[in-house]
């Protein structure tokens, strides 16, 4: 198995000037994505997960400034690239799938035109060849009558079908990495399962790296190999899905997992866990742990300075907290 990472990110920061000072929505974020594997970036709204993905693609709003220690795609440094060179990588070697497929497809062009254009923007292929690939990919993403679909406009498709078109479009140039930002949030649960199934299958088949940005812990647990939990601009815990869901170490991760009712584990009608308080303002600098104000275990040590990562339960598991690892699995395995 090729263990070489397809994407390496180290100390990624985003700063946005606002009237009250400087907003730091992404702080010291670092992770690696391996070919054929899925990394989930999970967190609540405002944690910086979407801006992280936009920063990777260099699609931040104009006022926002991006800095990073390292940002490399398949060994190639992306930091020094000009906008023109970056534009050639976007949609070609790195593609993105957005939450709302209706707004990311152009309503004025047919599905076929957009798929063909997605490839011909980056490759010198003939229209016929691109069209053939589009048909092949539409069949791959499970659309019946792919030849007919090419002539349809986005509004003639249902939400689930549009998302399939978006996935096909993301695959047109055979990218090394796909970033999917809440790809199933706008869809019904039944369609969600189908789309996720499809993403997992295709990603395995095409050996791409996949970054899944989501707030849905169920999706994360079922689909992803590795999970990075973000809170208030920082990654607070990172590990394999099993480590995160079985032996969560950071108080935020544990709190988040207690908030969702789990059939068979949570007693029906019982009170669910809550995380009191609100997300801190990310304007200006915050020396200590960002979660300290909401954390039941917070002490003076949490607020004095930057919190370093500690090693967690197994290889590759780390969390940003002063506490040592909680004893025993926080979430026992379900009764057989």
């Amino acid at each position: 198995m090729a263990a070489a990472p397809i994407l390496e990110v180290e100390s990624l920061n985003v700063a946005i000037p606002v009237p009250a000072g400087t907003l730091h929505p992404v702080q010291e974020v670092g992770f690696r994505v391996t070919r054929g594997h899925t990394l989930a970036i999970v967190g609540e709204s405002g944690c910086g997960k979407s801006l992280t993905s936009l920063a990777l693609m260099n699609l931040l709003p104009p006022r926002a400034a991006r800095t990073a220690g390292r940002l490399a795609l398949d060994g190639q440094d992306l930091l020094g690239l000009s906008e023109r060179e970056m534009a050639d990588i976007r949609g070609n070697r790195m593609s993105m799938i957005f939450q709302e497929p209706m707004t990311s497809l152009n309503p004025a062009y047919t599905v076929g035109d957009q798929l063909v254009e997605a490839e011909r923007r980056h490759r010198r292929t003939s229209v016929t060849a691109a069209r053939d690939r589009a048909v092949w990919l539409l069949e791959k993403v499970g659309m019946t009558g792919a030849g007919e679909r090419l002539r349809q406009y986005p509004h003639q498709l249902s939400g689930g079908l549009r998302q399939r078109v978006m996935i096909a479009m993301a695959l047109m140039c055979d990218p090394d990495l796909i970033i999917a930002d809440e790809p199933t949030t706008a869809l019904d649960v039944t369609i969600q399962a189908q789309i996720l199934h499809l993403l997992a299958d295709l990603q395995r088949e095409f050996e791409t790296g996949l970054i899944l940005i989501t707030h849905d812990l169920g999706v994360v647990a079922r689909l992803c190999d590795r999970v990075a939990v973000m809170y208030a601009g920082q990654i607070v815990e990172e590990g394999t899905a099993r480590q995160i869901f079985r032996t969560p170490a950071h108080p935020y991760t544990r709190g988040l997992l207690d908030c969702i009712p789990i059939p068979g584990k949570t007693r029906r009608g019982a009170h669910l866990g809550t995380i009191p308080g609100i997300v801190p303002s990310l304007v200006g600098s915050m020396p200590g742990c960002h979660f300290a104000d909401r954390c039941p275990h917070a002490s003076g040590a949490c607020r004095s300075g930057p919190i370093a990562f500690r090693d967690g339960a197994g290889p590759g598991h780390r969390y940003r907290c002063v506490l040592s690892l909680p004893s025993g699995p926080a979430r026992p395995d379900p009764a057989p």
Binding site: E44, G160, H215, G269
Partner: protein, 328 residues
């Protein structure tokens, strides 16, 4: 059938006319078709189904916001159509999905929470502020927010304002249309806890509309599954989640993603698309997507029959009189 239901829908249908486009024939969209639903006092009745299945239309009819094209709705044994607007408003109140659009941005929190008292021309204006503040405290909103505007509040706080507004007149029934799906996970649990507390303390009855099936299983006492405007299965929560009878319920429950890393993505066995509600398949409207469809399913619409284990189901698989040659 015992005593008086708090609210009961009898064979209600709702049909909209949809313009087919310029110079085209108008088409009829049957959003809800012949639905009967009975909600007893103190219950938490959940309505689940994919978007476009008619759950919201049914809820709007139960609040008197849309008149049913056929059938009747009764509140406490009296037909809703004959009740004055104000009286319906006193018994049934909604909580909406999106707390960003359900609060008028130009009104202060205090004005929003006292609005029901003003509209109902409550006889003691001098008590309005005190009662609104009590209700705000009850739903966990600090009183200092009384003069704030929705724009200054977080999503969770806004949803609490919406709940306070719904409850200040002490309705008996609250219709919650996706009350947590626009909120963050950590806020969702707070709102669900609050709804549980309010129910036991104020003796409320809920109609909970949600696609978050984990939340439904946690909150509801009974569940009705809707598909294309019809209720296809209705049962106590435990029974429905343990052993769903209708193939659609089974597929729907099977697609719930519990956060368990040892399980993969379920295969729902449903065809790709939800049918166009303007063009409802004949017979059982679910048959084109059904993994257990039989030849008769595309011809005859199923009857509503008692389901094994309690509740009711509308499926030929469970209708002995209709289909004895079932392949399991």
């Amino acid at each position: 059938m015992s005593g008086a239901a708090l609210i009961e829908a009898r064979e209600v249908s709702c049909t909209f006319t949809v313009s087919g486009g310029f110079m085209k024939e108008k088409r009829r969209l049957q959003a809800v078709s012949r639905v009967s639903l009975r909600i007893e006092p103190g219950e938490v009745m959940a309505l689940v189904g994919e978007s476009g299945c008619g759950k919201t239309t049914l809820a709007k009819m139960m609040m008197g916001l849309i008149a049913p094209s056929e059938g009747t709705i009764e509140i406490g044994g009296r037909p809703l159509a004959s009740l004055p607007r104000m009286e319906i408003a006193r018994s049934v109140q909604p909580i909406f999905q999106d707390p960003y659009s359900s609060l008028n941005p130009r009104r202060s929190v205090g004005s929003i929470v006292t609005q029901p008292l003003r509209v109902q021309k409550d006889p003691d204006p001098e008590t309005w502020r005190r009662r609104a503040e009590e209700m705000m405290e009850f739903v966990g909103l600090p009183q200092r927010l009384f003069n704030h505007y929705p724009g200054q509040l977080s999503g969770g706080q806004r949803q609490r304002v919406a709940i306070a507004r719904a409850l200040v007149n002490r309705p008996r029934m609250v219709i919650c249309d996706e009350p947590t799906s626009a909120l963050d996970v950590s806020v969702q649990s707070q709102i669900l806890n609050l709804m549980q507390d309010l129910r036991s303390e104020l003796g409320l009855t809920y109609l909970l509309i949600s696609h978050n099936l984990a939340a439904v299983e946690h909150m509801a006492s009974r569940v009705a599954v809707m598909y294309l405007g019809r209720i296809v299965e209705e049962a106590k929560t435990g029974r429905l989640f343990d052993s769903p009878c209708h193939p659609y319920s089974e597929a729907l429950l099977g697609s719930v993603l519990t956060p368990d890393p040892t399980l993969g993505i379920p295969d729902t066995q449903l065809g790709t698309s939800y049918p166009n509600p303007l063009d409802v398949p004949p017979g059982c409207s679910f048959h084109p997507r059904c993994a257990k469809a039989m030849p008769g399913c595309s011809v005859r619409a199923p009857r509503r029959v008692p389901a094994p284990g309690g509740g009711a189901v509308a499926c030929h698989l469970h209708d002995e009189g209709a289909a004895l040659d079932t392949v399991s």
